[in-house]
């Protein structure tokens, strides 16, 4: 059997097909049909699993790439039945693959990271996250990059490789989260009454969760205040608005109930009354100390 060398300059296509038998044609057809069926099954599976996780056009690109890859594998498997020696082609293809591999290393890394991000879903569109030094809302998760809009409204594109390998803090992944205030009241105020008032204000707030129960307690006897700690659980989507509004309500309610929230202050005790005006020669009873 004469094999055709692909490097041959005199390529005779007729002699190629002269060597192909009916069995080979059937085998080629079966292999290609199987490849098409597998490609169809895989793409259907991908559509089901990824249609609500990816942008439509990106999914179409990914599906096209996967379909062609499967078909190409089918053609390679069927190639012996063409009676073509592909060894030269494979060597050339290998060299090209190495070159392309080096050139597109970061692209492939980002692509693979993007696929894993889509499957693992540590973040979702709309989530409030922190990746490295970037904090904001996830706008899009593309195949190669993730788009974050910071709280200042700045567009930030983070390569998926960085997203995948960085520590991700997702502020809204859990359905509820806790936040905390420290409120200092004066030593003259009734701490028990203050705690009761704070509990009543929290009870009035719809999104200050009933369970887990909010905790309010005296945490520290500070230099100038009795420090109360207030810990409240709230739905993750609402905690920030609640935190912003509730502190003002606590302050005004405490003050309207006569609970003082004092400035930092220091009490100075004078052991002896100051001398009357004009008699400044004897401060503290130490005659002749001078000034």
């Amino acid at each position: 059997m004469t094999r055709l060398q692909t490097t041959d300059s005199t390529f005779d296509i007729a002699s190629v097909f002269a060597n192909v038998r009916a069995y080979d044609i059937v085998a080629i057809a079966v292999i290609l049909v199987i490849a098409v069926i597998i490609a169809k099954i895989v793409t259907t599976f991908m559509k089901r699993k990824l249609s609500d996780r990816m942008e439509k056009y990106e999914l179409n690109v990914l599906i096209t790439v996967v379909q062609w890859t499967i078909l190409l594998i089918g053609i390679v498997i069927a190639s012996p039945h063409f009676k073509i020696d592909l060894s030269g082609l494979l060597v050339a293809g290998g060299i090209i693959a190495v070159i392309i591999g080096f050139a597109s290393q970061s692209v492939v890394t980002n692509l693979v990271s993007g696929i894993f991000l889509i499957l693992e879903r540590p973040v979702k569109i709309g989530d409030n996250i922190c990746i490295g030094d970037v904090t904001g809302n996830v706008e899009h998760i593309h195949i190669l990059s993730t788009i974050i809009r910071t709280f200042e409204g700045i567009y930030v594109r983070v390569p998926n490789e960085k997203v995948f390998t960085s520590n991700i803090t997702n502020f809204v992944s859990n359905v509820a989260r806790r936040f905390e205030y420290r409120i200092g009241i004066g030593y003259g105020a009734d701490a028990s009454r203050a705690i009761q008032i704070i509990r009543e204000v929290i009870e009035e707030e719809p999104f200050a969760l009933k369970n887990p129960v909010p905790s309010v307690f005296v945490d520290k006897l500070g230099d100038s205040t009795v420090d109360l700690v207030v810990r409240i659980w709230a739905p993750s989507k609402e905690w920030y608005d609640l935190k912003m509004s509730l502190l003002l309500k606590l302050k005004t309610t405490l003050e309207s109930n006569g609970i003082e929230i004092p400035y930092p202050q220091q009490v100075v005790w004078v052991h002896q009354a100051l001398p009357p005006a004009g008699a400044c020669g004897k401060p503290g009873g130490h005659e002749g100390n001078g000034r």
Partner: protein, 263 residues
């Protein structure tokens, strides 16, 4: 138990005034203006319609101050349920009042308000649990007297299928299939099947007719229509929504009593 109730169907000339509540529609040259004042809070919507009606009825209490959950949790004093028995309890639930605008067999939610202050809670741990609309109820052995503008009655059938006594002090429902009936009082029927001390399944019985009572238009469905329309651009997603029946039961797997996980 007959009390004044604002629930019903009205034409565009309606004006309703109750203690802390007033609802009315004012007609200008070309438009109608819906105005509502409830506990000092007001709402105003402009309507472009000639032939329609206003329907006011109780809706699922899961909309205020904004929609954050699909779950309603009713907490009550602990009750021990004997093994392999079925018991009938009556609990109360908070009422939110929905105002719908209806024309040509189509309706949409115009306004939701409530005379009851909402409160939310967490059922289960913060990572896997769910935020719930929380309500404290007493346990009643017959239909209690309630103000239909503030509270409804849950006709709850509790089934203990196990062989041990079970202590129950809370029940959680999902809003899917939450059918509310109104008339002299507001009510819905539910079933709770206890499997163990920590697991139960709850379900609102939407099909059970209530003689003398009218079925409420649900706020959830009115909102859901627009959601389905929105996702119609994604064929597979919309097909899934259209053909896969929505789960109407809820599996309470984080406990039935007051014991809460250590957070």
């Amino acid at each position: 138990m007959i009390q004044f109730t604002v629930y019903g169907t009205y034409d565009y000339s309606c004006h309703i005034s109750e203690d802390e509540l007033s609802i009315g529609i004012e007609r200008s040259d070309r438009y109608l203006t819906y105005k509502r004042v409830c506990r000092g809070e007001s709402s105003e919507r402009i309507i472009a319609s000639e032939n329609g009606s206003i329907v006011i009825n109780p809706v699922e209490p899961l909309n205020l101050p904004k929609e954050v959950t699909r779950y309603l949790e009713v907490h009550f004093n602990p009750i021990f349920i004997e093994p392999e028995t079925t018991r009938q309890l009556y609990l109360t639930f908070p009422v939110e009042i929905g105002v719908f605008i209806r024309a040509k067999e189509d309706y949409d939610l115009l306004d939701v308000f409530s005379l009851v202050k909402p409160k939310y809670s967490l059922y289960g741990p913060p990572d896997y649990g769910c935020v719930t609309r929380w309500h404290e109820s007493a346990i009643h052995t017959k239909v209690p007297d309630t103000d239909p503008l503030r509270e409804g009655v849950i006709d709850l059938t509790v089934v203990n299928e196990g062989t041990t006594w079970i202590d129950v002090s809370r029940v959680v429902f999902v809003n899917a299939g939450m059918t509310i009936w109104y008339g002299d009082y507001v009510t819905m029927s539910a079933r709770m099947e206890l499997f163990s001390n920590v697991v139960a399944e709850t379900r609102i019985l939407s099909a059970s007719e209530k003689p003398g009572l009218t079925r409420s238009l649900p706020a959830y469905s009115a909102k859901k229509v627009s959601v389905v329309e929105m996702v119609n651009q994604i064929p597979f997603y919309s097909a899934k929504r259209a053909f896969v029946p929505e789960k109407t039961g809820f599996l309470m797997e984080f406990g039935l009593g007051d014991k809460v996980a250590d957070y």
